[in-house]
């Protein structure tokens, strides 16, 4: 599904990722943990094709295709979804209208028929239930005036509707109350299947209790310094990052 090979990347002339290698197979859930500023969001943004991020060397293959060569929207249409750490507000653009445009762009790219308003609404209603998002949110501007937690839930709602092959969740759990956390995890679990992979960036073990990862990686100083199974997350929670970082140096 996703092959990252010796990736070096940064922003505004600052090198942040320094030789990152990671391989995600279809159906796998990988958790990425690591100290603040270690480059987790940078990785997510580089994969999504955010402007201003520059890749200096390395390679990223998505289903065998060179991901870094694709424009941002094409990556999305190919099935890469990024639930952002800080979802953006777009005032005046109806949330549901926005999502319909997105879904139809993706469907068109895949060669599927575009959904009409009615079909779309049906799908949207179904997914809304999944994330327990009130219908009132649909007719507001995209994330306009949403609370922090509502924004995160809206991200998961969008993900559920767009049905991406690779979902990258950048701290989707931060700022969520306990119920919302469960809802988000359930949303992601519903997506979990042979065909879908998830990269979940988080600081907390608590999300991973609901959303059990196949692998846990520790990112420090721009590269993966330790990988393991779900127990690694627990260990990190107890011992902190110093332990891995020193372990790595040793």
């Amino acid at each position: 599904m996703l092959e990252i090979k010796d990736l070096y990347a940064g922003i505004d002339g600052k090198e942040i990722l320094r030789g990152l290698t990671l391989s995600v197979q279809p159906g796998e859930v990988h958790a990425i943990m690591g100290p603040n500023g270690s480059g987790k969001s940078t990785l997510a943004n580089v994969l999504a094709g955010r402007p201003r991020y520059e890749v200096t060397s390395g390679e990223v293959l998505f289903e065998g295709k060179n991901l870094l060569d694709m424009p941002t929207e094409e990556r999305a249409r190919e099935g890469v979804f990024l639930a952002m750490q800080y979802p953006v507000e777009i005032a005046g653009v109806n949330n549901i209208y926005f999502l319909k445009a997105a879904l139809n762009a993706v469907r068109k790219h895949r060669g599927d028929e575009e959904l009409d308003a009615l079909e779309f609404l049906q799908l949207a209603r179904e997914k809304m239930k999944l994330v327990e998002l009130d219908e009132a949110f649909m007719n507001r501007g995209v994330n306009e005036g949403f609370s922090g937690g509502e924004k995160k839930r809206n991200e998961i709602f969008q993900m559920a509707v767009l049905d991406p092959k690779l979902a990258i969740l950048d701290e989707t759990d931060s700022g969520l109350d306990i119920d919302a956390l469960r809802i988000v995890a359930e949303g992601v679990n519903a997506l979990r299947s042979e065909a879908h992979s998830v990269l979940v960036i988080t600081h907390y073990q608590r999300l991973l209790r609901y959303l059990v990862p196949d692998f846990v990686h520790v990112l420090a100083n721009g590269r993966i310094v330790k990988s393991g199974g779900k127990e690694l997350a627990e260990e990190l929670e107890q011992k902190g990052y110093d332990w891995v970082e020193t372990a790595e140096v040793a």
């Binding site: 955010r50 929207e73 990024l82 953006v88 507000e89 445009a101 767009l162």
Partner: protein, 477 residues
């Protein structure tokens, strides 16, 4: 109603389309002789010539205004041709014969000519260069007493009405460009809705500047008699040319007691190229006068012209009269716009609403200039103004100059303003969801303009949305 158009269309196919229009043009320059030449060409009565000459003499004493926030090289008024008429004797009878440039513009907007026929419930007066070439549905409208014809015809057939109302809202001394227009205007549309009649269809004028080196000076006069109601649409296009062309029109609206006039414009004159070469100078005076309980509503979508200088205004003369101004103005590349409105409250309980949405992209510069005047007898006058700017990129500019003058303490004034920017983050967010940057921009822009678009008649709203899309092409990414 469709029969007329069908009939005309059938008729027309016999002759095929006119691709090149040969024109009858006056020599360049402005003088009493030229004014007499125009008046004579149009076989005008003496009072009409007199009106023109008074205006011309006054114009020679005036100076071009410089207060607008636009810059352009000096215009040589002696180099412009003030008269150009299609030479063909045969009158164009329908929009189907409209020149290919206009068709092309429409097809670029995604409106094929077949679809265009869906507009068949709209009566159209088509003005090419200086002359009205076709007015549809005249017979149909005449049944309810509505007069809808070219200005020239009105001067011939309804001189009493023209004479009574011409210059009654925009006097020939009004301002440099209006005075120039009063001297040399060649055609335009005239419309009279009799007492108590609700016009059964939308009336519209399509203006087209075709000939090189000419100015276009058309004049529109709409009179809604007591209790009458009319909705009027105006659309404009011009071919691409490297030179700048002057368009100085005057529109006068008269809404007598209890009458309603809704005037909508989708202005898409050639804006010049990406480097700022060519384009229309659109220096237009639009004003309406509302008598007791009458209502005037201006809705405009301005995407074209190299320079726009335009302030559709309302004189709220009568008690309980209402004025509205809804505007979307877009400037891209090197376009400049200084636009806004004036609401003059004279009568008691007069109300006005101003909603202005300015969008700037590229190196576009835009100024909103609005004046709200509450005169001393205007008890309980109310104004609400909202003025929003949207910027795309950081090389464009938006400026706001609201002028408020209140001479009656019972007035209520509300003013809101905002400036926002389409940010890189918003575009990234949309793109990350699979939406192209262009589509994202057009969604944001349409959302921004919604309050104005919903004031437009349906067909126009669709056209306006597409136009904004086309006009913003190349402004992102």
């Amino acid at each position: 109603m469709n029969e007329t158009v069908q009939e005309i269309a059938q008729q027309e196919y016999k002759y095929g389309f006119v691709t090149e229009i040969e024109a009858d043009v006056a020599p360049p320059g402005l003088s009493e002789d030229i004014v007499r030449y125009i008046s004579e060409k149009k076989n005008e009565p003496a009072w009409m010539l007199e009106f023109r000459l008074k205006a011309l003499r006054h114009w020679f004493t005036m100076k071009e205004p410089t207060w607008a926030n636009v810059s352009y090289p000096p215009i040589d008024y002696q180099a412009i041709r003030y008269y150009s008429a299609p030479k063909q004797k045969k009158k164009l009878n329908s929009l189907d014969e409209v020149d290919p440039e206009l068709r092309e513009t429409f097809s670029k907007l995604g409106i094929s000519l077949d679809e265009q026929k869906r507009l068949s419930g709209v009566a159209v007066d088509a003005v090419f260069d200086s002359v009205s070439v076709a007015t549809t549905f005249q017979a149909e409208l005449a049944k309810v007493g509505i007069i809808f014809c070219s200005f020239s015809e009105a001067v011939q057939h309804h001189p009493e009405l023209v004479r009574k109302y011409l210059g009654s809202v925009v006097p020939y001394t009004d301002n440099f460009f209006a005075t120039l227009n009063s001297a040399v205007f060649t055609d335009g549309s005239f419309c009279y809705i009799p007492k108590g009649v609700r016009c059964p269809m939308e009336l519209s004028t399509y203006f087209r500047i075709n000939q090189a080196g000419t100015g276009q000076f058309e004049r529109t006069l709409i009179v809604a008699d007591e209790g009458a109601t009319v909705s009027y649409l105006e659309g404009c296009t011009a071919p691409r040319r490297d030179e700048n062309q002057l368009h100085a029109a005057v529109v006068e609206l008269v809404a007598l007691d209890d009458a309603t006039i809704k005037y909508s414009t989708v202005q898409n004159w050639y804006p010049g190229d990406k480097q700022g070469r060519g384009g229309i100078y659109n220096f237009v005076t639009k004003r309406g006068k509302a008598f007791n309980r009458a209502k005037l509503s201006w809705t405009q979508v301005e995407t074209g012209s190299a320079i726009t200088w335009k302030y559709p205004s309302c004189i709220l003369q009568g008690d309980d009269s209402v004025g509205e101004f809804y505007s979307v103005a877009l400037t891209n590349h090197y376009q400049q716009a200084d636009t806004g409105t004036k609401m003059i409250h004279i009568g008691r309980n007069t109300r006005s609403t101003i909603v202005s949405k300015g969008i700037s992209a590229g190196h576009g510069q835009q100024t909103y200039r609005g004046e709200v005047k509450i005169l001393k007898n205007a008890e309980n006058a109310r104004n609400y103004s909202q003025c929003d700017s949207l910027l795309l990129g950081d090389q464009c500019g938006a400026h706001t100059f609201p002028y408020i003058e209140v001479r009656n303490a019972t007035a209520t004034m509300e003013h809101e303003a905002s400036t926002s920017k389409i940010g890189e983050d918003q575009l990234f967010y949309a793109q990350q969801r699979g939406i192209s940057a262009e589509d994202a921009v057009s969604m944001i822009v349409n959302g921004f303009c919604r309050e104005v678009f919903r004031e437009l008649p349906m067909e126009f709203a669709v056209e306006a949305q597409k136009l904004l899309g086309v006009s913003l092409e190349g402004s992102v990414g």
